[in-house]
């Protein structure tokens, strides 16, 4: 790491970034506010703070390279370990979601496809590889990683994807292999994960030249735990009728818990957000002007249609109040309070929804249906994500049979806007809306 780079980074962190972003923001503000949608409630004021946090995170990443070790990390990885070694962490999945939301996903995917990556492969991975090959991104510039840190608790795909990056950049890949919980997590599974964490510590010590600071690690774990618990509280506010925010808000609001977990900025942000949401609850302010039906979302967001779907459902006074996806960063966090942080991490990160069997998913959904008083379910069958999507057809059937909740499956994708058919989605959703209005049970 160079001293000049370190000085530049700390200067930008303390002074430069805020100044530059202020000027940049002033220039952008000239566009003026967009027309309010009468079907939607007032915008969350905290969102402006969040925007600054996201912008700052990506902005600062440009100065991190050379000043500190940079790691590319999967969303389900125990980042606490890296933070204890002073890594700047970048989340390619989050970046791919941003590319998708900016409707740049297909364009960047095509770069990867030209290099031989089949269009059937995960679009997060294709966006990331496309970005790696071309530098294309809507966020300015991503720092190249010095190391990769991957955990297979969300899919095996991240393993193949990170292996590819390791090959192209010829950099180390540290992988935490989390056995799939076909039934229950066993002691052998936990021991395996804990052993890998200890091995990772050794590898990180070697790589960073720094000694592992256990106390610092414990402090970061506590911060991470507190942040995730706050995120859970954020989601819990949506149990209120009317819900103070929508799941489309939550898809964006989850960024700190995903990407900045373990840092004070994430915890501080959720404290601000919760205060606003609790005030809304007290004042009876809903995310929709008139919330008549409450829905649940299954799977990752269709990032490139977030706005359109938000408006479409609002038109029908239907609000998404819960998602299996957004609670992934809070639902297992109780285990983080384990006296042994390594065991806490093993339990927390192994029990994520995608690392558990489909009975677990069904049970989680049942609980959500009851707790959030859900009227209907929208299932996003995401071509990119097999662990999330394979099994959804049966899930649809079972949710109706067992919980009497109608649902609809929309075939789409997370970041590749080419995998979208207006016609197909419109037809299915119309049937779904009718079923919900008639209180019928047979949806598309």
């Amino acid at each position: 790491m160079s001293l000049a780079k370190k000085i530049e980074y700390w200067f930008m962190k303390d002074i430069g970034a805020d100044l530059l972003m202020k000027f940049g923001g002033a220039a952008k503000k000239k566009k003026g506010p967009s027309k309010p949608n009468p079907k939607l409630g007032p915008r969350l004021e905290a969102s402006a703070v969040l925007q600054r946090i996201i912008a700052r995170h990506y902005f600062m990443s440009r100065f991190a390279k050379g000043a500190m070790p940079v790691a590319w990390v999967t969303s389900g990885a125990p980042v606490e370990l890296l933070r204890a070694f002073g890594f700047y962490t970048v989340y390619p999945e989050n970046h791919s979601a941003l590319c998708g939301a900016a409707k740049r996903g297909a364009e960047i995917c095509q770069v990867a496809e030209e290099r031989g990556y089949a269009s059937e492969l995960c679009s997060y991975a294709r966006v990331d590889l496309g970005h790696l090959f071309s530098g294309k991104t809507p966020v300015g510039l991503l720092p190249k990683p010095d190391i990769l840190f991957c955990t297979t608790n969300i899919c095996a795909t991240v393993g193949y994807w990170y292996k590819a990056i390791a090959h192209y950049l010829q950099i180390p890949l540290i992988q935490l292999d989390t056995p799939f919980n076909f039934t229950e997590m066993t002691q052998a599974d936990e021991d395996y994960i804990v052993a890998q964490l200890h091995e990772s510590v050794e590898e990180l010590e070697k790589f960073s030249g720094r000694k592992f600071n256990y106390n610092e690690f414990v402090r970061i774990c506590e911060m991470s735990h507190a942040t995730s618990m706050l995120w859970g509280e954020v989601l819990d506010t949506m149990k209120t009728k009317p819900s103070p925010m929508t799941i489309f808000d939550a898809f964006t609001q989850m960024l700190p818990v995903v990407s900045l977990r373990g840092l004070p900025v994430a915890k501080n942000y959720y404290e601000i957000l919760i205060e606003e949401l609790q005030q809304r609850v007290k004042d009876g302010v809903g995310a929709l002007a008139n919330e008549r039906k409450r829905l649940m979302w299954d799977n990752i967001a269709v990032w490139f249609k977030l706005n359109d779907l938000s408006k479409l459902f609002a038109e029908h006074d239907m609000n998404f109040v819960v998602a299996t996806y957004t609670s992934s960063w809070s639902s297992t966090q109780d285990h983080m309070s384990n006296a042994d942080p390594f065991k806490g991490i093993a339990q927390t990160y192994s029990r994520t929804i995608l690392n558990c069997n489909l009975n677990h998913r069904l049970h989680t959904m049942q609980q959500s249906i009851e707790d959030w008083d859900v009227d209907g379910l929208v299932i996003h069958s995401a071509r990119s994500c097999k662990p999330y999507s394979v099994g959804q057809y049966d899930l649809k059937r079972l949710v109706l049979e067992r919980f009497d909740v109608p649902s609809v499956v929309i075939e789409a994708d997370i970041a590749d806007e080419r995998v979208w058919s207006d016609e197909q989605v419109r037809t299915r959703l119309e049937a779904f809306f009718e079923a919900l209005e008639d209180d019928g049970r047979e949806a598309a």
Binding site: G159, Y160, F180, D191, Y192, A195, V390
Partner: protein, 362 residues
């Protein structure tokens, strides 16, 4: 040679009558010695020749044809004789198929799961694999047990013998001392997907004796991918007198050619053998390892090029291909990548591409 052996259905019936208990096993890596020792007849489900109809109600069209046809077999009653199913953790699709079958489809048959650690390997991977072997045995025991230590030793010795014979056969082929067609070769090798070792070993010995001699005189290639399917790909190569010098197929060498190892503890011997298998995408082996392996088997078998036979939607393989393709081209190794669906025949266009590739190799 393969014709001498009873068909899969007849064999299962015969063994059932003899007291063996068939278990359907999905792709790809699993410790068959444990099953043999428990009196189980493992019957692998790779590419049953079925059209997909009922499976489509459970699986999206973007799931590969191996997983689709496996589920189709279960749903249409083709796996009725199986007393249970075993799902190794091969990829996200097989993983979810396992839980769909176990949790969502009312089969009334036990389902078992075998998770093998993924590379990059460390000491913890070896320890975990060893523990997984114990765990699988323990899970199977209530239905099929108890495990007899002597039977396990025998099964491990038989597994080592099978691997040794397969290694010899592969070596003979690499040296062009195996006078048989690609169709015949894979028909024989794949009998191991359901034959017990006591029946498979003599088949392999007979095959080796009977097929001695000069192989095809055309250029040699390495065949990579998941399966030697559709069969037309092998027929096309045979018709062009091409020798498959070696393969890098998931269903074949990648899980068959274990190195000779020994340990007094049979489970430790199995562990050592497993970690000595060739690199594999489903184990997330590093690209460079697979690359070097492909180059070595190409050189040792005199192969002039590599054919990658991809199954559509197979993520494990599709992620590796661009890196392998790029690096192999840089090393001057000609390659051809073809996309197929199992049991869906072979288009004229594909045949033309293979012919052109072989002609190019000279």
């Amino acid at each position: 040679m393969a014709e001498k052996t009873a068909s899969r259905g007849a064999y299962i019936t015969e063994k059932k009558q003899a007291g063996l208990r068939p278990v359907g096993v999905f792709p790809a890596q699993y410790p068959k010695e444990i099953l043999w020792a428990l009196g189980i007849l493992p019957v692998e489900i790779w590419d049953p020749p079925l059209d997909i109809s009922t499976a489509g109600a459970h699986l999206q069209p973007y799931v590969c044809s191996i997983v689709q046809s496996g589920l189709e077999l279960i749903l249409n009653g083709g796996a009725e004789e199986m007393e249970a199913f075993l799902f190794p953790h091969t990829c996200d699709s097989v993983q979810n198929l396992a839980t769909v079958v176990n949790d969502y489809i009312d089969l009334n048959k036990p389902c078992y799961f075998f998770f093998h650690p993924k590379a990059p390997y460390r000491q913890s991977s070896r320890d975990y694999y060893y523990n997984q072997l114990k765990r699988l045995a323990k899970e199977l025991e209530p239905q099929f047990g108890p495990m007899d230590a002597e039977k396990l030793k025998t099964a491990v010795a038989q597994g080592a013998k099978v691997a040794e014979l397969l290694r010899q056969i592969y070596m003979l082929r690499a040296q062009n001392r195996l006078a048989c067609s690609a169709v015949e070769f894979y028909k024989t090798i794949r009998l191991g997907e359901y034959l017990l070792p006591e029946d498979f070993i003599p088949v392999l010995e007979d095959f080796m004796l009977g097929a001695g001699g000069q192989g095809p005189s055309g250029p040699a290639v390495v065949l990579s991918g998941v399966l030697p399917n559709p069969p037309e790909i092998l027929q096309t190569l045979d018709e062009m007198d091409v020798r498959i010098g070696n393969d890098d197929l998931l269903a074949c060498s990648r899980r068959m050619i274990a190195p000779p190892v020994h340990d007094d503890d049979p489970l430790m011997q199995m562990t050592k053998a497993y970690f000595g298998l060739p690199p594999c995408s489903t184990k997330n082996s590093p690209t460079d390892e697979r690359l070097d392996y492909l180059q070595v088997i190409s050189e040792r078998s005199g192969a002039k090029g590599i054919i990658f036979n991809m199954v559509k939607f197979c993520e494990t393989e599709l992620f590796d291909i661009p890196q392998l393709e790029e690096a192999l081209k840089k090393r001057g190794v000609p390659i051809l990548v073809v996309d197929t669906e199992i049991n869906q025949g072979f288009s004229g266009q594909l045949a033309t591409r293979i012919e052109a590739f072989i002609e190019m190799l000279g």
